[in-house]
């Protein structure tokens, strides 16, 4: 009987160990799984959020550059770009309290760009209004440190070329122009086109302008002028869909 009891106790203690081990295993496994999944999820959410914030800031900077170029191309100060970027940076610092957000910008200054803006309106049928800003975005928080170096370039360009034909009956000239509009080297839409021609030393606006838009950034423009000289000097003033102004002068000869 004593022997039987000892055997039974030994058997029970074995069962107890197995059950306890099972319980501990379940606890450890569930806790580990829970902690792991929660950490993974949090990391993915955080990466997504930071990515979205970076994209939002880049979009805001681009819109600010467009605004400043539209202003400067219409006679505003070129320093407006730096001023507006500073205003926007302070707004981001105030609103995005996700972590510490720092935006530093560098305006391009070269032979063509001044304070990040280039207005090159030539007499050979090419006009360029452009702005270029290089920026560094830093987002810090307790667990991550992200630095993004990028640049925003906004350019509106027009290429103008044309010729004229003489109307036999009254000697007036029918001028035909082709104007290509480009935004960042891609075909773009014009919001407004005004053409002037040079007559007696002054620029005279065209009143009978006929426009054909081909939908691919190409415009055919034609009008009649009363001009005695061999060539017709024209000036094309264009505002694109982003309100950026650009102009180009061209000389038309007889076809």
């Amino acid at each position: 009987m004593k022997k039987f009891n000892e055997i039974f106790r030994a058997k029970s203690s074995g069962q107890l160990l197995i059950v306890a081990a099972l319980a501990i295993a379940i606890l450890i496994a569930s806790t580990t799984m829970y902690v792991y999944e929660l950490t993974e999820e949090k990391q993915a959410q955080k990466d997504g959020t930071i990515g979205d914030i970076v994209l939002a800031i880049k979009t805001g900077l681009r819109n600010t550059v467009i605004s400043a170029l539209a202003n400067a191309s219409k006679g505003g100060e070129k320093t407006v770009l730096a001023k507006n970027l500073e205003t926007l940076s302070s707004a981001y610092r105030r609103v995005y309290q996700y972590g510490i957000c720092q935006i530093s910008h560098k305006l391009l200054n070269s032979s063509e760009y001044e304070s990040g803006i280039k207005l090159s309106w030539t007499n050979i049928g090419l006009g360029i209004s452009s702005a270029h800003v290089a920026f560094t975005l830093k987002i810090f928080d307790l667990t991550s440190n992200i630095t993004v170096d990028d640049a925003v370039n906004v350019t509106t360009a027009i290429i103008v070329g044309g010729y004229y034909t003489v109307n036999g009956s009254n000697g007036t000239k029918r001028v035909s122009l082709t104007c290509h509009v480009l935004n960042e080297e891609k075909p773009a839409q014009a919001k407004n086109i005004t053409i002037y021609y040079e007559g007696f030393g002054v620029w005279i606006p065209i009143s009978d302008l006929s426009t054909i838009e081909w939908g691919n950034g190409t415009y055919n423009l034609s009008f009649t002028v009363a001009n005695a000289s061999d060539t017709v000097h024209v000036s094309v003033h264009l505002t694109d869909a982003r309100s950026i102004f650009v102009m180009a002068n061209a000389t038309c000869s007889q076809a």
Binding site: Y34, E41, Q45, D52, N71
Partner: protein, 140 residues
């Protein structure tokens, strides 16, 4: 002796049952919390994506500059997933509310609300920026 042993086994079984129940409760509670947090985070991400989409071509600031609140409401209605309630408020740089009409597709009723805050820079030659607050909730 046999009865005493059977009592011990009962106690062990009871403990085992408690452990199993406790584990089940812990896991299910964890999963519930996680799914709510994920839902809110996804909603915030969807809201931010929609605002980004509108801002990428300057439409967002164009609606605000023009005071076209009904146009903005329609745009948000189109871009946000079906079943998402929204309420949008626009503030100027001095944090004064400038939307004169309510930009919303219905009232929130007891749902968990997610806030998306967005800085919108205008493309207007006269530079302005706006702070857009978009409140979102999944309609139940």
């Amino acid at each position: 002796m046999s009865k005493r042993n059977s009592g011990q086994i009962r106690i062990i079984e009871a403990f085992l049952a408690i452990f199993i129940i406790f584990s089940a409760i812990t896991i299910s509670a964890g999963l519930t919390t996680k799914s709510t947090a994920t839902e809110n985070s996804n909603l915030a991400s969807v809201g931010l994506q929609v605002l980004l989409q509108l801002d990428a071509d300057g439409s967002l600031s164009a609606y605000i500059d023009a005071g076209d609140w009904s146009g903005m409401r329609e745009a948000l209605n189109l871009l946000l997933p079906v079943g998402v309630s929204f309420n949008l408020t626009v503030y100027n740089a001095e944090m004064r509310q400038i939307n004169t009409e309510t930009v919303s597709n219905g009232a929130f009723s007891g749902q968990e609300i997610t806030l998306v805050e967005y800085v919108c820079a205008s493309r207007n030659p006269e530079f302005r920026y706006y702070v857009v607050r978009l409140y979102l909730a999944v309609a139940k």
